[in-house]
Each structure stands twice: as C-alpha cells, then as structure tokens.
Symmetry: C2
Subunit: 163 residues, 2 copies
C-alpha cells in the first residue's frame, strides 16, 4: 500500500546496541569496518557513541559529520553503561541469537567484494561466525563484533559513490 | 583515525530482527511508520522481508526498490520463522532491553515533528514506551512494535529531500 503522506519524510536513522568496552568496540568499528565516530554524548551513568560510514568522499568536515547524526540513515549507536568494561562480574551482552534473549539478529554491511573483505578480516584477527567457504550460502559471511553481536557481510554497493 | 581505504565503499545496509507474525509486523511498519516492503525471500522454514523508506519522492519503480536492497542504507530485515504466528506455546521474542537477553536496544526513526508524529501514533493505537511528555527527554519518544521492540522517535530530517 502507498505510505501515509504524513510519514513522507521519516527515515530509519539508527540502530542501538549496548557494548561492554567502548574503546574496544570503537576501535573495531573504525579500524576493521571503516566506520567513523561522528558524535558522542556523555551522561552520568552512560555514554552514547554514534558511528557511520562517510559516503561523501571525504568532503564533510568533522562538524558536518556530527550534524549528520540525525539527517542520514545507517548510523550505529553504541551505548556504554559506565563500569562494565572493568566489572569482573559483568557477564556480557546477549547477541540476540539464542534463548533466552532471542530476538535481534544482526546488523549487516555491504562490501564490494566479500572474499576480499573476509581475507582482510582474517588478517586482522576478526572472529568469524561463518566464513564464505562454510555452509550453503557461499556469497555471504558472518563476523562477530567484540561483544559477540553478529555482523553479516553481504555483497553490494551504495549508489552514487562512483565505485 | 582515517578509515582503511579498503573499506571506502562499505555501508551499513540493514538491521535484522525476528518477528512472530509478518502480517502484523509488515502492516505496522508500512501503515504506522511509512516504510515499504521492497523485497522478500522465502526459504523452507523461514521467510525474510526487507523494508525501507522511499526517499526518491516516488520516482523508483517496484523493481528498482527491490534492487536497492543491497545498494542503500536504512533497510530493516524482518525474519519470520514459519509457525510462530500460530504457535500457542511460542513465548515471543526478547526486546533486548532486560535480562536475560539484554544487548540490542532499539531502532530509531527520524521524523520532522515528534509531537505531531506521536499524536498520529496515538490515534493509530500504537503502544508507547515513553511519550514526549514523560521523563526528562521531552524531545523524543519511544514506541513499541508488534513484538515489543523499542523504536525511538527523534527529530531529524534526511538531507536532499526538499523538506
């Protein structure tokens, strides 16, 4: 059905996941996946970190990237509840893929060449849930982020990037 | 740090959540939020549904929307494990916001006017986790999708829409 005109300018802005140690997670999302920390917001007991891929070809300034936090899609919000990173009794977060706690499944990134991307992930010591060579779906892979969340790696490319 | 050039064309394509009854969920994401079902894929024991907001101003054909499944950000993937919709013993999925199963937090949509959007959600009978008038953060709201997943409603607009 045609969407209600009232929703014409709505957008799927971000997805939020909790992380145990933001230093470890931000390093992973920046260095392994190539996202950038565009904004953060510190509160008394928690801090929010917003990451996104820069598709401007490097044209945006840091300020413009921060401003884009609510004017684009594809933003990842990491929530850090202060203290989890050094709390020996903290049992970690659920990935959402097993009971109890099944619900959320994964986030997914598109890459131009899954094989090539996975070779790089292997070199960087990334943990795989499923390599392209495993299982029946040879064109995709699943890697794990530092908290064990699943990240699907699928072939694809964003339009308008000249790639 | 500057991203590795190898990741230059990576993109945050989609977020996957499992849903009990796709008819109910698709109706919600289409009629309440204004997303569109752009593609689906049926397997023996499960079906995948891909939804996204159309920011083309109605220019894209259904075929072009389906093709955009892996060439854009902001896609929501709903996974339906066949049978859950009519299984009286199925206890539902975890939202990710309470133990056991805490991890995933929410997805978020930007809307031009949160107050106005929430008035419409109320008329449509949507369940609120937090209305704009509640709590300390008066400029945002949280609504629940049919499975109880949290959806944050935040002010914002996508650039280049002429809005």
């Amino acid at each position: 059905m045609a969407p209600d005109p009232e929703t014409a300018n709505y957008a799927f802005n971000h997805t939020m996941i909790r992380v145990k140690d933001p230093k470890v997670s931000i390093k992973f999302y920046e260095e392994v996946l190539g996202m950038e920390l565009i904004s953060d917001a510190k509160f008394e007991s928690f801090t929010l970190y917003f990451l996104a891929f820069d598709h401007s070809g490097g044209k945006l300034t840091a300020e413009e990237k921060a401003e884009s936090r609510f004017s684009r899609e594809g933003v990842l919000e990491l929530t850090h509840n202060h203290g989890t990173e050094s709390d020996a009794s903290f049992k970690g977060y659920a990935s959402g893929n097993s009971d109890p706690g099944k619900g959320f499944g994964h986030i997914a990134i598109t890459v131009p060449d899954v094989e090539k991307a996975c070779q790089r992930f292997e070199k960087l010591g990334v943990t795989f849930k499923k390599k392209p060579s495993e299982g029946t779906m040879r064109h995709i892979a699943f890697i794990l982020d530092p908290d064990g969340y699943w990240i699907e790696v699928v072939p694809g490319k964003i339009e308008g990037l000249g790639n």
